[in-house]
C-alpha cells in the first residue's frame, strides 16, 4: 500500500448546490433522490435494502467500509442504492469473517461512490431544504451537462418503484413442513423479514408485486404479508386492491413500511411525501397499547396522514414516532390486520420490535 491520490468528484443537487469530494475509484455518473441514513452500523444491509432503490445514500457515520462485506449480511441479491456519498471510505477493512472489501463489493455491483464530502453539511442542507434529486459524478468539469441530465430525472413523488425491485416469479422460503403458511407480496421485501417469519415456524410463498389476491389465496395461506419497498405507495393500485380483498375477508394481515402505507391507502387514508423522511436505526417509537418505548430501524420517505387515521372509525393508532408524532403503527379494530411504518426485522438495527412477528403469528393462530 502506498499513498493513494484520488480523483475529484461532486454531488450536484437539483437546486444547483454542489458538494465537493473525491471518487473512491470508479468513474462515472449516477442519479437519484438524495437521502441520508444515520446508522453507525449495518452499511451492507442498507445498501442492499430494496426500499432504497433509486436513492443516492448519504451515510452520516464518519467511516464506511471498516468491516468489509459478508455474503450473509445482505437484504437482497444486489446493491439497491443508486450511489453512495460518505465522509471517509475504508479501503482497508478488518474482519476475519468477511468475504471481501466494500470497494470490491461496489465494483462487482457497478456502484458509484464518492467520499470526502462534508456529509454533515449535506445532511443539514437536506434537513433544511427537503429531499431532492441529485447526481454524483466524477465529471467535475461538466456541471452544465450534469444539470441538464438531472433535470430529466423524475421526482420521487408519484414514482412507482416496486416493480423494479420485486421478484418476477413467485418463490418459496423456509421449511415447507412448517406449521404456518404465509403469502407475502414482494414490493421490495427484505430478506430478514422472511428469515424472521421462517424462524417462527412459517413457510412463505413470495409473490411478485403485480400478483392478485386470487394468485395469493391459491397458496391457501394462513396469513398475508405486505412488504416494505421503495417509492410512492399511491401508484401501487394492484397492491392496494390485494390489501382490500384480504381485509374484506378479515384474513390475518401484517404490513411493514410500504406495506403499511398500502394498508392505509386501502382504508382510504392518504399518504404524503415527508420533508426528509426517517432513515436510521435509532428512531424512538412508543407503543400506545403497552406504553413502552422501542428503538427502531426506520427507512421511509412517505408516511400516512395522521388526521385521517385518527378520524377513521375502524383504525386505531398503536404506535407513534416520539420525535415528530407521525403514525408509526396501526391496527384495524374490526379486522385481523395491523401494520407498522418501521422495520421490526431490523437488519440493520435493534431487535426491540421483533415481538411484532410474534404478534402476527398469534393473529394467525387466533384467526
Amino acid at each position: 500500500m502506498k499513498y493513494n491520490k484520488r480523483q475529484k468528484a461532486i454531488i450536484l443537487l437539483s437546486d444547483g448546490t454542489i458538494f465537493h469530494g473525491k471518487s473512491i475509484g470508479k468513474e462515472g455518473t449516477a442519479f437519484g433522490e438524495v437521502c441520508f441514513n444515520t446508522g453507525t452500523t449495518g452499511y451492507q444491509e442498507i445498501f442492499t435494502d430494496p426500499s432504497y432503490f433509486g436513492q443516492l445514500m448519504v451515510a452520516t457515520n464518519a467511516h464506511i467500509g471498516n468491516y468489509g462485506t459478508l455474503s450473509d449480511e445482505v437484504e437482497s441479491d444486489s446493491i439497491k442504492i443508486a450511489g453512495l456519498i460518505c465522509k471517509n471510505f475504508s479501503f482497508n477493512y478488518s474482519r476475519p469473517a468477511a468475504d471481501d472489501s466494500l470497494e470490491n463489493f461496489f465494483e462487482k455491483n457497478n456502484l458509484l461512490a464518492i467520499s470526502d464530502v462534508d456529509t454533515r453539511a449535506l445532511v443539514s442542507y437536506i434537513r433544511d431544504n427537503g429531499a431532492m434529486n441529485a447526481v454524483i459524478s466524477t465529471e467535475v468539469d461538466n456541471i452544465e451537462g450534469l444539470k441538464k441530465q438531472l433535470a430529466s430525472v423524475p421526482e420521487m413523488k408519484g414514482l412507482e418503484l416496486a416493480s423494479k425491485v420485486s421478484t418476477t416469479e413467485p418463490y418459496y422460503f423456509g421449511n415447507e413442513n412448517a406449521t404456518y403458511k404465509i403469502a407475502a407480496l414482494d414490493i421490495g421485501i427484505k430478506k430478514n423479514i422472511l428469515r424472521n417469519l421462517a424462524k417462527r415456524d412459517a413457510y412463505i410463498k413470495v409473490f411478485p408485486y403485480n400478483a392478485t389476491f386470487e394468485d395469493m389465496s391459491a397458496f391457501n395461506p394462513d396469513g398475508y404479508f405486505l412488504s416494505n419497498g421503495p417509492g410512492d405507495p399511491e401508484p401501487l393500485v394492484e397492491a392496494q386492491a390485494v390489501a382490500k380483498e384480504i381485509i374484506k375477508r378479515n384474513l390475518p394481515l401484517f404490513g411493514i413500511c410500504l406495506g403499511h402505507q398500502v394498508i392505509a391507502l386501502a382504508n382510504g387514508i392518504s399518504t404524503y411525501k415527508m420533508h426528509n423522511g426517517h432513515r436510521g436505526i435509532n428512531h424512538p417509537v412508543k407503543n400506545l397499547v403497552t406504553g413502552k418505548g422501542e428503538i427502531t430501524s426506520q427507512n421511509h420517505g412517505f408516511a400516512i396522514n395522521r388526521e385521517e387515521t385518527e378520524k377513521h372509525s375502524d383504525i386505531e393508532i398503536t404506535h407513534v414516532h416520539l420525535n415528530d408524532n407521525t403514525v408509526a403503527g396501526i391496527k384495524m379494530k374490526s379486522k385481523n390486520c395491523f401494520s407498522v411504518q418501521y422495520h421490526p426485522e431490523a437488519s440493520p438495527g435493534p431487535h426491540d420490535s421483533s415481538y411484532l412477528f410474534d404478534q402476527f403469528i398469534e393473529n394467525i393462530k387466533n384467526k
Binding site: G16, T40, D116, D118, P348, H351
Partner: protein, 950 residues
Amino acid sequence: MPKNKTINSVLIIGSGPIIIGQACEFDYSGTQALRSLREDGIETILINSNPATIMTDPTMADHVYLLPLTTKSIVQVLKEHPQIDAVLPTMGGQTALNLCIQADEKGIWKDFGIKLIGVDIDAINITEDREKFRELMLKIGVGMAPQATANSYLKGKEIAQEFGFPLVIRASYTLGGEGASFVHTEDQFDELLTRGLEVSPIHEVMIDKALIGWKEYELELLRDKNDNVVIICTIENMDPMGIHTGDSITVAPAMTLSDTTYQRMRDMAIHMMRSIGDFAGGCNVQFAVSPDENEEIIAIEINPRVSRSSALASKATGYPIAKIAAKLAIGYNLDELSNQITKSTSALFEPTLDYVVVKIPRWNFDKFEGSDRTLGLQMKAVGEVMAIGRSFQEALHKATQSLEIKRNGLGADGKGYKNYDQIIEKLTFASWDRVFVIYDAIQMGIPLSRIHEITKIDMWFLKQYEELYHLEKEISKFTIDTIERDLMLEAKQKGYGDRQIAHMLKCLESQVYKKRDELKIKRVYKLVDTCAAEFKAQTPYYYSTFENEVETPDGKLESINESVVTDKKKVIVLGSGPNRIGQGIEFDYCCVHGVLAASECGYETIMINCNPETVSTDFDIADKLYFEPVFWEHIYDIIRHEKPEGVIVQLGGQTALKLAEKLDRYGIKIIGTTYKSLDLAEDRGSFSKLLQENNIPYPEFDVATTADEALAIADVLNFPILVRPSYVLGGQGMKIVINKKELEEHVVDLLRTMPDNKLLLDHYLDGAIEAEADAICDGENVYIIGIMEHIEPCGIHSGDSNATLPPFNLGEFVMQQIKDHTKKIALALNTVGLINIQFAIKDDMVYIIEANPRASRTVPFIAKAYKEPYVNYATKVMLGEKKVTDFNFNPQLEGYAIKQPVFSFNKFPNVNKKLGPEMKSTGESILFIDSLKDDEFYNLYSRRKMYLSK
C-alpha cells in the same frame, strides 16, 4: 409513570478525594444530578469530603456536607434532615456504592425510612460479587470466561492448576482494578495471589482464564421505571483485552463491529441490565469479542451506576447521562423527557455520531519512581483527554496533541524511537507511549502483521496508522512552495498539526499557517448534536475539523462552519487539560467559576478544554464550548474566529498559563495579570530582584544551566540544596540534595530530560515551617482570602501537605510578616486576579519560596472552608468589572479546616511512599475540626515527619 410525588428530598453521595480509578468524572455526574433534581423542585442534600469539587459549592445543593464519607457522617446528615426521602448513590462511583451498602448492612436506611433510588442493593451486590454475577450470567445464557473464586491461598493454587496460564487475578470489592494482575507463569502466581487476597476487603479473589487479545467494548445504558432501555454509546477499546479500560485508548462509536455482532451485544447488554434488578438508572456493561470468524461475545462486567465511561459517553455523544439518570431515578420515563441537545426530540432514543471520538489516558509514571510502567489490569492513568474529529485519524491526532507531553501528534516531530529492539519491546509491554511507538514501528518498516501479532490491536486501526505514514511520506516530497492545496487539506483533515507539516516540509510553523491561510484551508467548527444533523440542535458544543467546500448555485465556494459568531463581547477561558498530579480538579473548579462570573458580568463565555471528566466541558456551563486540545494552533484559530476581548489564563493551571507568552506575542489580550508579570514571577532572577527591592527575604539561591555551574553554586549556598527546574508542574523534578554527588547526579538527570532548562538551586531551610497564602488583587488593593500553615515541615510539596486554615501555631509577628509580604508582592507584580505565595518560616523570619500569580490548588479549599465565592470575585476583578473594595468579605469558619492530601500509592506496589518536594498525591479531602484538641489533628501532627524523605 411520571415523577414520583413521594420523593421531595434526596441525599446524594459524592465520591470523595480523587484517586486513580476515580477522578473528577464524578464531580461532573454529581453536579449534573444535583442540577437535574433541583430543576424538578427537589431538595438536595450532598455529602462529599472533596473540597475541590463544583458539586460541593453552596449554590449546587440545598445543603452541602463536607464530611468524611462514613456511615457516621450519613447518620449525622439524616438526623439533621429528617425530611430526606431517598438516597441516590449512583453518582459517586464505587465509593458511594460501597458506603451505601455499608449503611444498608447497618440498617441505617431502614431506620430513617430512606428509599434507595437509581439502583437497588441486590444489583450492587450481584455486580460486585463476581461469583454471584457469574452464576446469574450463566443462568440467563450470557457467556463468561472460565473463572473461579478463591478465598484462600490454597484454593487459589488449585484453580491455577486446573485452568493453566495465563490467568487473571482480581480482588473482590475493589476499585480501578486494584489488586488485579495477569499471571503468565507459575513463579509470579504466589506473590500476586497473596496481594490480591490482601487488598480485597473480604479476602477474596477471582481467578479468570485470561482473554488476552480479545476485542473489548463498552456499552452505556439507561433504563426507566417502565423498563425502557436505550444504549447511549458504544465504545471500542483500541487496546484489546489485557489493558484496563481506564488505561486503554478508546474510540466511539465502535469502529470494527458489524451490525449483526453489535445487535447481539446490544441484546445481551439489555438482558443483563434487566436481570440484575428492577431499577431505573444507568449501567455500564463491558464485553469481549473473540477476534476470529466466530465473533463470540463474552460479558466482562456490569456496573449499575454512572462511571468514567459514562462521563466520556456523555461528552462523546452530547447525551447527558447523569442528568437523565437522575430524572429516571425520581420516576420519570424516558419518553417523558426531551433530548437535551435538540430540545425538540425525545430522550428515548439512541444518539448517533457523525464524527469519531478518541480518548487517550494520561499517565504520570514520572511521579512514581521505580513503578512498573507496563499497562495491565490495574488502572494507572491519572487523567484522560478526549478529542473529536471527522475521522479516526483526525481524532487520534487531536488527542495526542491534547496530552501536553511535548508531542505534536503522531510522527513528524523527530521524537520517534529508531531502535528496532526498543520498538519491539515497547510494543510488547504497553506503556504511556505505545500510541506513538506504533507509528515508529511502521516507519521502521515492521510489518503490520507483526505489530498486530504483538499488540493484538485490530488491523483496521493499524491500517489507519499506515495511511498516516504514507501521507507523511508523500508530503515530505514537497516544500512549502510546491505543496498543492489538496494534499495540504488532506493533511489537515487527518489531524496533522501545522508544526508537523512544517517538519515534513522543512519550514516554520508560521509559514504553514500562512500558506493554509493563502490556500483558504480554514478550520471549521461542527456541532455535537446527538443526531448526526438529522435535527436542528440548540446546544453550542463544537469541535473543529477541515472540510471540502460547498458551492452555492451562484458560485460561492466555502467550507461550512456551524459556529456562528455573535456580536456580544466575549471572553475565552482556557481549561486545564487532562488531570495529572499537581493539576487536577481544583483548576476545573476555578475555570467553571470563572465562566459563570464572566457570564454574570454580561460576557459571552467561551470554554476551551479537552478533559472529558470535567464540569467545564459540560455543554451548558459556558455559552460556547469548544472541545478542543489546549494546544496553540487550535486555540489561536478559535481566537481568530471568535475575536474575544481577551483570554483568561490564570484559572486553568500551568496548561493555560504556559500559553500566555504566545498569546502576548500574537497581541492577544490576557485578562487580568499581564504576561509580563506572570513571567516576572516565574523568572527567579528578576523575581528575587523584586523581593530585594521590597525588602522581603528569600532563601539564598542561584541559577545553573550545567552541572559544573551547579557544583560551583553549591560552594556558596551550602547544603542542603533544593534543586528545581523552571516552568514545571507539581514540583516535577524537584529534589533536596545533601552533598555534591547527589547534586551532580540530579542535575545531570534533569538536563538530560529537560535540556536547556534553567535550574534553580535554593538553600534549603532545614526544619522550617511552611505556610502559604492566597489573595485577590486588583492592582491597587489586596485582599488575602486565606493563610494556611502546613502541618508537615518545609520540604514536602505543598500539595502533599496537610494544610490548616487558619494557621495553628504561627505568632502574631509571623502572621504580620506573611500579610505584609503577600500584599507587597501582589502589588509589585501588578497582579490583577489571584495570587498564591508560599513561605518558609524559620526562627520567626518569613522567607518567600515562590509566588504564582494565578489560581492555586488551595483556592477552592479556602472558598469551601470560608463559604465565599472567591473565584467569582477574582474573575470580576480580572475583567475590571469590580475592585477588591467592592466586595463585602465575610469568611465564616469556626475552628479549623484541614486540607488533607490523598495518595494512590496502592496502585504502585513497589514505589517508595516517601514524600518530598515533588508532589505525589492525586486528591484531597477537607476536614473541619473545632479545636486543636481534636484527635484527628493530633494524629496528623504526631505523624508529620513520618514520610519525609531525607
